[in-house]
């Protein structure tokens, strides 16, 4: 169940995993913390990494993806699926919030008709979680029943225990990674205690709080109140940052593109905050900004609970950190419940 590893052994471990899988780690490029294929050496991210700007969902739902290619020949059209690479990937250092977010996307993409682009990648992906030690002031995961050490959603969970990392084998997929890996030791009771303390310390740093007890009720009660939503949406500038950087937002667009070799149908990220997102030639149900803001908030905190009995938010705080006008979802949620109370 529990193992441990010293910091100095991590590079060796990643090297071993790199033989069979693409190992993705946090890195910094052009001033942006992002994910990249591990370069085979650098594990310094363990010291500085808090979370990435773009969430790791981009490795399961790429920003841009060719669905299939088409070509017109003598006998009409022929379609060709992209070669499935089938290569395994390990996302090393995923934060608990982002891992839980993938479990939320699973609800949509695995239900009914499976989206094989997502599902195949998801099946080939192993999530190695890294418990947070320094959450941002915009994080609010603890209000969503989670926290810096939450292991639900990951396959392996790594938690700082002194100068070592405690490894919890959460799933069978995780065990496959640790099986036969070198440099792993057995965790002692003291390591577990030390890890628990580290998580508790981190949890206390998550100071932003929301009360979600009556949020769904408040949203339903105020759903039709245009003025109320206009107020909430007033300063929003309708960019796509909050949705594109949201680890649970999955909306996409489908377009055809022609090139010299023929054409392709491509899937790319889309956002409910864009006015054209719902536009039909004759009608657009969400022309007004407040309707789009209402959709974003309601989708996560009313529609998700109605359909899946979970909220569609994990409290990673990216939408707060990166919003160019500091539109703060926690402020909105708290004002909602205050309104109902």
């Amino acid at each position: 169940m529990f193992k441990k590893i010293g910091h100095s052994e991590i590079a060796k471990l990643l090297s071993e995993w790199s033989k069979e899988s693409t190992v993705l780690v946090p890195t910094r490029a052009d001033g942006v913390t992002t994910w990249a294929k591990w370069d085979g050496r650098d594990v310094s991210f363990l010291d500085w990494y808090r979370n990435t700007v773009v969430p790791p969902k981009s490795f399961l739902l790429p920003m841009l993806e060719e669905m299939f290619r088409f070509q017109k020949g003598k006998d009409g059209y022929s379609l060709e699926l992209p070669p499935s690479d089938g290569r395994k990937q390990v996302i090393f250092g995923i934060r608990p919030c982002d891992a839980r977010a993938l479990a939320i996307i699973d609800l949509v993409f695995r239900e009914g008709y499976e989206d094989l682009y997502y599902v195949n990648r998801r099946n080939n992906t192993t999530l190695v979680g890294l418990a947070c030690t320094s959450p941002y002031d915009s994080c609010f995961c603890t209000s969503l029943g989670s926290g810096p050490g939450d292991a639900r959603g990951v396959d392996l969970m790594l938690t700082t225990a002194g100068d070592q990392l405690l490894i919890e084998e959460v799933t069978d997929k995780g065990k496959e990674l640790t099986a036969g890996a070198s440099g792993l030791g057995k965790a002692a009771e003291a390591d577990l205690i030390s890890a628990r303390e580290a998580v508790e310390l981190a949890s206390r740093k998550v100071t932003r709080q929301v009360d979600l007890k009556d949020t769904d009720k408040a949203l339903l009660a105020n759903f039709e109140k245009a003025e109320f939503w206009e107020d909430i949406a007033a300063k929003c500038v309708s960019c796509g940052i909050c949705t594109f950087l949201c680890p649970t937002c999955y909306c996409f667009d489908i377009n055809d593109e022609m090139d010299r070799q023929g054409g392709a149908r491509v899937k790319s990220w889309d956002s409910c905050q864009f006015a054209l997102y719902t536009r039909m030639p004759m009608e657009n149900p969400r022309v007004e900004k407040w309707r789009r803001v209402r959709q974003k908030v309601s989708h996560k905190f009313l529609f998700y609970p109605l359909s899946y009995e979970t909220t569609g938010c994990v409290g990673c705080g990216r939408c707060i950190r990166r919003c160019p006008v500091n539109w703060d979802i926690t402020q909105v949620l708290n004002s909602l419940t205050a309104k109902v109370a």
Partner: protein
């Protein structure tokens, strides 16, 4: 049964990947109005012609390779399976391109998607079909279905309107139904011309005039959103309960299978949970989301 119960409906049989369309061939093009055309089509693959099944009310994603995909209902009836039909108004990039196609052209087709009209629920009832403009397309599939099984249903009223006589779609069907003594057909236009002898007035107003009885009846409404919005209150006034009002909705449906996110009304996705809804299902969200 509820309308949202979709477990029994025919599903797209994709071989593996649900986004990969089948190839269908256009067999006939009918100019319904200056902006609306009906396309008759069939699968290129012989086997699919046999195996393919759908129900009235279901829709599909049609695509022109290199231009894009758009959703339209299957406007023909599953009781008449020598070919299938869809009808569309020329309004945007994909529909413009579709209107340029002629007989023999190949397009992509994936479907059928969505739920369908609840035939079991409709059996033994008086049916009131209320359609506007191209909104007759999905109703038409059901109307033919019902007429081909006429003994299963009671009284049939059809109220159909368009902006002008020239904008009436499926005139050949309107004529046939008008002559059918087992159907009460009312056609109206917003504005008539010198040859027009039928009714003049908006569909909701004409519905109020025709005043179909709500007793043992179900109203099935489809048309432009503004027509739907004004027809429901009229029906309510006539005594129809929200469960007795059924509509089929159109939204921007890119994926057709509840993934891409844009066609929701509340927590329901038109493509996944619809397009057929009872008013009872959507009334808490409809006034501002549709």
């Amino acid at each position: 049964m509820t309308i949202a119960d979709t477990s029994q409906r025919p599903r797209f049989f994709a071989r593996g990947n649900v986004y990969l369309p089948h190839i269908v061939v256009i067999e006939k093009v009918i100019e319904e109005t200056p902006g609306v055309r009906t396309f008759h089509f069939n699968f290129k693959d012989e086997r699919l012609r046999e195996e393919f099944a759908f129900q009235s009310g279901q829709f599909a994603e049609y695509s022109i390779f290199g231009v894009g995909e758009a959703p339209f209902c299957i406007s023909s009836s599953p009781t008449r399976r020598d070919h299938m039909e869809f009808a569309l108004q020329r309004v945007g990039k994909v529909t413009n391109a579709l209107h340029r196609l002629g007989v023999g052209a190949e397009i992509g087709f994936r479907g059928p998607y969505g739920n369908s009209f609840p035939l079991d629920f409709l059996a033994g009832k008086n049916l009131v079909f209320i359609g506007g403009g191209i909104g007759l397309a999905p109703l038409r599939s059901l109307i033919w279905n019902v007429i081909d099984n006429r003994e299963k249903y009671e009284r049939i009223d059809i109220i159909y309107g368009a902006r002008s006589p020239a904008d009436l779609c499926f005139k050949y069907d309107l004529e046939t139904w008008g002559k059918d003594s087992s159907v009460n057909m009312v056609t109206t236009v917003d504005r008539g011309d010198k040859d027009w002898t039928g009714k003049v007035g908006f569909v909701p107003a004409i519905t109020e005039q025709v005043a179909p009885s709500a007793k043992n009846a179900v109203a099935i409404v489809c048309g432009p959103p503004v027509m739907i919005r004004f027809t429901f209150p009229v029906l309510a006034k006539l005594g129809f309960t929200p469960e007795q009002m059924i509509t089929t909705l159109e939204k921007r449906m890119k994926c057709g299978i509840g993934k891409c996110g844009r066609c929701n009304i509340g927590n329901l996705y038109v493509c996944r949970d619809g397009p057929v809804f009872s008013y009872a299902q959507i009334k808490s969200f409809i006034s501002s989301e549709y």
